[in-house]
């Protein structure tokens, strides 16, 4: 398993970008439909995060787990990751992105969490793994990496 972390960042974080993501999701879906937004998230998963996607295709989940730890910690989310023999589970109890958008606009787009669900699906496409995202509450979710049957 590699120790690579292609997309690491340092310095401050600008959480207001999540508000612009929310605006973007509503803009694209209102004009082009949810399929167009999903297609953009698919490009994020496969092209923007190509290094993680390629690792998953090669059977290596290590970079994705490190990526999750790096960014959920940077954004001060309440989360944990359990790495088991059969599955890896990311449990997010307080998603900083969702709650920041809620503070800015009241109610985030009902498609706000599609960025997670659809990007996860694209990351895993063509790999031995599936990544399932279950929204468990407002600003809370469970993301599970499992080998496909």
């Amino acid at each position: 398993m590699s120790e690579h972390l292609r997309y690491a960042e340092g310095g401050e974080v600008h959480l207001d970008f999540h508000g612009a993501t929310n605006t973007t999701i509503d803009f694209i879906i209102s004009r082009y439909g949810v399929e167009a937004m999903d297609a953009i998230f698919k490009k994020v998963g496969k092209d923007v995060y190509r290094s993680i996607h390629d690792d998953l295709v090669a059977g290596d989940t290590g970079q994705l787990v490190r990526h999750w730890r790096h960014f959920f910690s940077r954004e001060n989310c309440d989360y944990d990751i359990e790495v088991g023999a059969d599955e890896i589970v990311l449990t997010v109890r307080h998603c900083t992105a969702w709650h920041h958008v809620a503070k800015l606009v009241g109610t985030p787009s009902r498609h706000f969490c599609d960025q997670t669900t659809r990007t996860n699906e694209a990351l895993a496409e063509g790999s031995p793994y599936a990544i399932d995202t279950e929204i468990t509450g407002p600003g809370a979710c469970r993301q599970v990496i499992r080998r496909r049957a």
Partner: protein, 161 residues
Amino acid sequence: MIPSDHFTRFYNEVFKFLESQGEDQLQAYFLAISKNQEKHILELIETKGLEGMEEYWTHIKIEENCDMDIDRNEDRLELRMNVCPSLSKVMDNDAEPMGRYCDHCAGWIGPIFDKTGYHLVYDVIDRKKPQCVMRVFKDAAKAKEAEKDVKLLMGWPGHKV
């Protein structure tokens, strides 16, 4: 969650999609982002003018990790971006950068200055280099004069150059 650190790469994918749909769609998106940004900057401009703009971009300089010089006098505010983190991330990217990525910046802030009675002169310099100079003037004639020294003048929705 797409991390806030990677919003710019997501933005880049959105720009590529919208560019494929037509220029008017890209301009409409800039206006939607501009409207979104009003909640962060409009009141500062309306109540404090150039000082409010300086306050906003001082905050942005820190949060977005910009290498940027900010200079204000009684006539204008100047932001000199030495290394733009936004374009830098888009260029250091496993996905293809959108050729006109820099256009979004004037695209969202220009309409807000139009609304508040200020005059923007946005010099992108070179769309492939993460540096630019933005000047905002109180006086339209001074802005017009400043346009003479610009290398790559940027327009925005409702203000073609």
